[in-house]
């Protein structure tokens, strides 16, 4: 009974925030989320994760309160990846999962579990209209085709190519952390590397083992005229030689002679010419204006 009185505040606070009539559905969702995204670590206790159903492992953590645990689940901490490594889970999903995990502990401890039916119904009814939650996959997402802001620069464990089961994955840096001091852009890494370098936000070495050596740049613009309304392309040697060596482009990609190379957008999109780098590592093709920067004189 003692155990139960401790959870009561959790139950109340969870009801207050979720404020959804279908608590049963909530519990079900919690179970589902835990099964898909949390048991891999919390089942066997990988990386020191507190084990499911083992009250001892959770005793001190629980004292932080549900909200704090949910917050940490969302943001991640130490070896615990943000959102349990699954960026597709909404805040409501994660809350449901944490509630489910905590409820499971009490079942194991054989104290009265905060079973669904025991939740004070009056509290639920006293609530105003339910807030929109994202329990079900919504059909009318604001961004349907474009990747929404929340899914950009995901942490390695949640990015789809790193294996979240691999111990090393959780040690890798979160790109957002590295990019936080840098000027933003609307594509690629979502960082404006040229501005970041100019502003001194990063200081990449020009020579492997000598941080004092600086880049030798060439200030030579080449204008390539484009038919139609698209502004002409200005190819700047300066920004390129900040990063690259002449031999990276000449002669394998471009013959060093103005107009000697046949360049088209089709080739670029297929990963040739400027597309060797732009669309792979340097800013992608989406940023038309960075290349097509010279407006034509008005006729």
């Amino acid at each position: 009974m003692h155990g139960y009185s401790k959870i009561l505040p959790f139950v109340l606070s969870s009801v207050a925030i979720v404020a959804v009539p279908e608590i049963a559905a909530q519990t079900e969702r919690g179970a589902e989320v835990v099964k898909i995204s949390c048991t891999s670590c919390h089942g066997p206790g990988i990386l020191g994760a507190p084990k499911l159903g083992v009250a001892e492992d959770w005793k001190e953590r629980r004292a932080k309160g549900l909200d704090e645990l949910v917050k940490r689940t969302i943001e991640g901490f130490n070896q615990m990846p943000p959102r349990g490594g699954n960026v597709n889970l909404s805040d409501a999903d994660l809350r449901a999962a944490v509630e489910f995990i905590l409820a499971g502990l009490d079942k194991h401890a054989e104290t009265p579990a905060p079973a669904v039916a025991e939740r004070p119904a009056t509290v639920v009814e006293a609530k105003p209209a339910p807030k929109p939650t994202q329990r079900k996959q919504p059909v009318n997402n604001f961004n349907r085709l474009m990747k929404p802001a929340s899914k950009r620069n995901p942490p390695p464990a949640a990015d789809g190519i790193h294996d979240p089961q691999n111990a090393g994955t959780t040690i890798l840096q979160h790109p957002k952390e590295a990019f936080s001091p840098m000027p933003k852009s609307n594509s690629g890494n979502r960082v404006d590397w040229v501005k970041a370098l100019d502003a001194g936000d990063l200081n990449p070495r020009f020579v492997l083992d000598d941080p004092s050596k600086t880049a030798v740049t060439l200030d030579l613009n080449i204008v390539r005229e484009v038919k139609g309304s698209m502004p002409d392309v200005v190819y700047p040697h300066k920004q390129h030689t900040e990063w690259l060596d002449c031999s990276n482009c000449h002669p394998a990609i471009f013959i060093p002679k103005k107009g000697a190379n046949n360049i088209s957008m089709a080739a670029i999109l297929l990963g040739e010419k400027c597309g060797v780098c732009h669309g792979k590592v340097a800013f992608p093709v989406a940023e038309c204006r960075k290349c097509h920067s010279k407006n034509k004189p008005k006729q």
């Binding site: 960026v87 597709n88 961004n143 349907r144 085709l145 474009m146 990747k147 899914k151 620069n153 995901p154 390695p156 949640a158 990015d159 789809g160 190519i161 790193h162 294996d163 691999n166 111990a167 090393g168 994955t169 040690i171 890798l172 840096q173 790109p175 590295a178 990019f179 594509s187 690629g188 890494n189 960082v191 590397w193 990063l202 990449p204 070495r205 020009f206 020579v207 492997l208 083992d209 880049a215 900040e242 990063w243 690259l244 060596d245 031999s247 990276n248 088209s264 957008m265 089709a266 999109l269 297929l270 990963g271 597309g275 060797v276 780098c277 669309g279 792979k280 590592v281 992608p284 093709v285």
Partner: protein, 134 residues
């Protein structure tokens, strides 16, 4: 004749790229420019190696790797092996305990999901070839 063909190719590339936008939304999507190298790893029972461009370009100009160390601009195109790495080539030019942490940290490099193909993640080309709509 030649003109016609390039026009066709041009239109094709633009068309596929428009369709490809959809692919962006479906998956989580790793950081732009992350390279997965998996010529040998899967067969050898190791997770594929993942090379983060963003992380390294904060520390080095492209020139250091692509001119001085001789990395070719092609994912999987350098035939990197552990023998070369421990003899100081490729990743081993830096991951030697002097410039950067040494090779015993296998799982920092071999961190990819098993079965992930060699690729440059989020490249325009990758988006072109992937079927639209997931």
């Amino acid at each position: 004749m030649l003109k016609k063909r390039t026009n066709l190719r041009r239109r094709l590339a633009w068309m596929i790229s428009a369709g490809a936008l959809a692919v962006l939304s479906g998956q989580a999507g790793a950081e732009y420019g992350d390279v997965v190298i998996n010529n040998y790893s899967d067969q050898a029972g190791m997770r594929p190696a993942v090379f983060p461009h963003w992380f390294h370009r904060i520390r080095f100009r492209c020139k250091v790797c692509h001119a001085d160390l001789g990395f070719k601009f092609q994912a999987g195109g350098n035939d990197i092996t552990m023998l070369k790495i421990i003899d100081g080539e490729y990743c081993g030019a830096c991951h030697n305990g002097d410039v950067a942490w040494s090779v015993e940290n296998c799982d920092l490099c071999h961190s990819g999901k098993p079965g992930t193909k060699t690729q440059v993640h989020e490249s325009t080309l990758q988006k072109l070839v992937a079927p639209a709509g997931k």
